[in-house]
Structure formats: C-alpha cells, structure tokens
C-alpha cells in the first residue's frame, strides 16, 4: 500500500520538476545579497566579547542587522502599535514631512542619529582609547570623543549632533544634543525630530557575536514623553566591511521623487500591500503614454 502510494508522488515530483524547468520563473534577489545586510544568529554559546588594552569591551567590528528586528526603519518599533507619543506640534511636523518633504536620504542628505541606528544598513565601529568611530553606508561617519569633555555651549545643529562618549562599566554611553530640526526625518517613515531632541545611546557587547543598543529619544517639542528604541546587531563575517557607496553620483531620480515615504503597512514598514507585477504588464499606451 505504501509502495503504490509513493508512485504518484514520484510522478508528481518529476512532473513538477519538469514544469519548473519550463515555467517562466520570475527573478528574485539572491540570498547572498540579503546576507550582505543581515547576519546569521550563531548556533550555541558565543565567545566572550573581546576587550581593549584598557579593559573596556571592544565594540569594533562590522555589524549587520538581525532578521528578528521588526519593523526595520521605524523609530516606534518598541511602542504598542508603533504609535509615537506625538505632541500637537509633532503631529503637524509629521504631516508636513509626509506631504511636503522629500526623504532627506533620497536627496543624499546625511540621515544622522537616530535614523542610522533605525536603518537596515550595516555599519562598522572602530574603537580606540579616546574615540569610538561609527562608519556608515553612503560613506558617512561620526566620531565620538571619549575624553571627559562636556557638550559645546549652544552648538550649531548638525546631523550627528554634538556628542560625548563615556563608559559606565561595560556600557558605552553616547549623549547627543545639537541635532538638526525638521524636515530631517527621525526614521524611514518620515517621523519628525526637532532641535530640542536629546538622544542617549547605551551600547553593550554582550558577547563576541552581538552588539546591543538601548536608545532614548527625548524631544519635548515633538513628543509628549521620552521613548525607547532597542536593537541587537550581529557580527559580520571575517573580511567583511563597508564599501564605497556614492549617493550623489547620478541622481536622475531626484526631480521625480515626491514627498513622504509612501503608505505605511500594518507591520510598521513603508511600502505597498498590493500584488506583484503581472506576468505581462500593458504597454505605455494603456496609460496614454
């Protein structure tokens, strides 16, 4: 009985394989492309985090996203319903970003902090005794001094802000003020940030394969109370690292990009909830072109 039951399965499998060869398979992004961005969760216990000569955890390395991070690109990731505590001014700024502001990243404007930490893109850290340097895609960087200095008085706003670094035990704390105002987006979903924003990042390396961030946004102008954003990245493979990525080499798209990020899905990411391309789309004349 079992034998006879197997025959149709085998026939079906062969038929499926033949059909697969004949079918006009739609192209996909190969897995190795995603693996450049996303790390692999290690199996079994990880080695302890390395330490520098002065005894601090060494945060240096190439850090890639985890598939467990959802939604990527949304600073409200850890809030119920991804709902940010916007003030009335914050809601107005969000509306302005959605309706009148082109994504700064699309204009090759630096994303800044916290947006770079909410991005899907990998980054690199280089650490020495008195600086911790973050290297980002688009060939952007921020260098955090670790020398006991205080914030500049009345700093001119910048994309990465006026930042200081210090160690609290095994936690590296970055305190940032003096950040750019709207229309800079705080994340990929066009949420707003104001010059009043104060960002505190607490970075830890619990083991060799992971780096963890607890980030607090305190922006009383646009948000009714401080909120947190947490995330873990995975260590890249040996030999991996950032490569040159020129944002402004050939921006044919710039004059064609409209305001806002487009619709936000129920899962908190930006994008469409509509079917993929039809097998044979119509010619331009279908649209009078």
């Amino acid at each position: 009985m079992r034998k006879s039951g197997c025959v149709p399965l085998v026939v079906l499998s062969i038929a499926a394989a033949l059909t697969a060869k004949a079918a006009p398979v739609d192209p996909a992004i190969p897995p190795e492309e995603a693996s450049l961005l996303f790390g692999v969760e290690p199996v079994g216990p990880s080695p302890a985090a390395p330490r520098t000569a002065d005894g601090h955890p060494d945060l240096s390395g190439f850090w890639k996203g985890s598939r467990a991070t959802k939604p990527v690109g949304n600073i409200g990731k850890d809030l119920p319903g991804f709902k940010l505590p916007l003030t009335a001014a914050g809601a107005a700024a969000l509306k302005r970003n959605l309706t009148t502001t082109v994504d700064p990243e699309a204009l090759c404007i630096i994303g800044g902090i916290p947006r770079h930490s909410a991005s899907a893109l990998p980054f690199e850290i280089v650490q020495n005794k008195d600086h911790v340097v973050f290297l980002y895609m688009y060939t952007y960087f921020r260098s955090i001094p670790v020398d006991g200095r205080k914030h500049t008085v009345d700093p001119d706003p910048t994309f990465f802000g006026d930042k200081t670094g210090r160690w609290e035990g095994d936690t590296f704390v970055i305190d940032t003020v003096g950040l750019k105002d709207t229309p800079i987006w705080i994340d990929e979903n066009a949420n707003p940030q104001s010059e009043a924003m104060h960002v505190v990042e607490k970075w830890t390396r619990p083991d060799a394969n992971h780096i963890h961030l607890e980030l607090t946004v305190d922006d009383p102008k646009f948000y009714t109370h401080p909120f947190q954003y947490t995330r873990t990245w995975l260590a890249g493979r040996p030999g991996e690292g950032l490569k040159e990525y020129s944002c402004s080499e050939n921006n044919v798209d710039r004059p064609h990009i409209g305001p806002g990020p487009g619709p936000i899905r129920a899962d908190g990411t930006r994008g469409y909830d509509v079917p993929p391309l039809p097998a044979v789309p119509p010619p331009p004349e279908a649209y009078g072109k």
């Binding site: 079918a23 190969p30 190795e32 990243e105 044919v252 994008g271 509509v274």
Partner: protein, 140 residues
C-alpha cells in the same frame, strides 16, 4: 503555482532586506497601480550609484518612437544578481517590466528585465517597499 512561489520568494527577500540598498521608497517615485512593459532598443547606459539607468527607444503602435528611462538597482546589487555591466550594449533589444513614475515622465522602475541572452533578472532596488513585498511577507 511555481510562478507564485517565485514571486513569493522575491517578495520575501525584499521584506527581509528592509531598506537594503534603496535610498528612497518605491512609493515616493513610482505608481504601484501602473505596471507597464517596455520593449525597446538601448540608447544609453549609466552604470552608477545610487541607481543604474538605461534608456530605451520604444516604438508605439502608431510608429512614434519615445525614449524611456529605466531606473534599476546599483551596480553592486545588479552584479550580484548576475547582471554584469557588459551584459547590455547600445542597440540591444530589451523587455523591461516595471512601474510608471508618478510624475508622468517617461521613467519606469525596472523591476523585471529580460536580458538579450534570455536571462530574466530582478532589476529593482532591494527593500524599497515596492509592490509584492508584503504579499509574500512571513506573518509575525
């Protein structure tokens, strides 16, 4: 069915990629409700960041020739998908499926490109949130 699985895989990869190499969302530039097929001859190739572009002369049913711009992923992404810069040249005939630009210009998002040698390559920017992403997304 197999086509659906293939579409699903493509979409799932996009979702997994998050924002990936896209430096703007699909929806900011293109209309997901206006899929289009261009069949035309290559007149220009720009193998550049943050997007590669190629341009096609497309002849309509009245014999009118219009030049169209096709936006695709960056050179690194396309190369990883098996599309090398030498794979297309001026005068080659291409079939490109994608979506019209929202602003009405002759610009499309080149999502599915049939190369001169018959290979079909994904031409879009990974993780730009374009159509098909969510349909195949693994449920949380």
């Amino acid at each position: 069915m197999l086509r659906n699985i293939a579409f699903g895989l493509a979409g799932a990869m996009l979702v997994i990629c998050g924002s990936a190499d896209a430096h703007h969302s699909f929806a900011a530039e293109f209309d997901g409700n206006k899929p289009v097929r261009l069949i035309g001859t290559i007149t220009r190739i720009e193998w550049t960041n943050p997007h590669s572009y190629f341009y096609l002369d497309v002849t309509d049913s009245h014999g009118q020739v219009n030049n169209w711009a096709c936006e695709s992923g960056n050179p690194g992404a396309l190369s990883r998908r098996g599309w090398k810069k030498g794979d297309i040249k001026f005068g080659d005939r291409l079939t490109v499926d994608g979506y019209l630009a929202k602003d009405g210009s002759r610009l499309i998002d080149a999502r599915r490109v049939t190369l001169p040698d018959g290979r079909v390559v994904y031409g879009g920017s990974a993780g730009d949130g374009g159509p098909g992403d969510a349909a195949a997304a693994p449920k949380p």
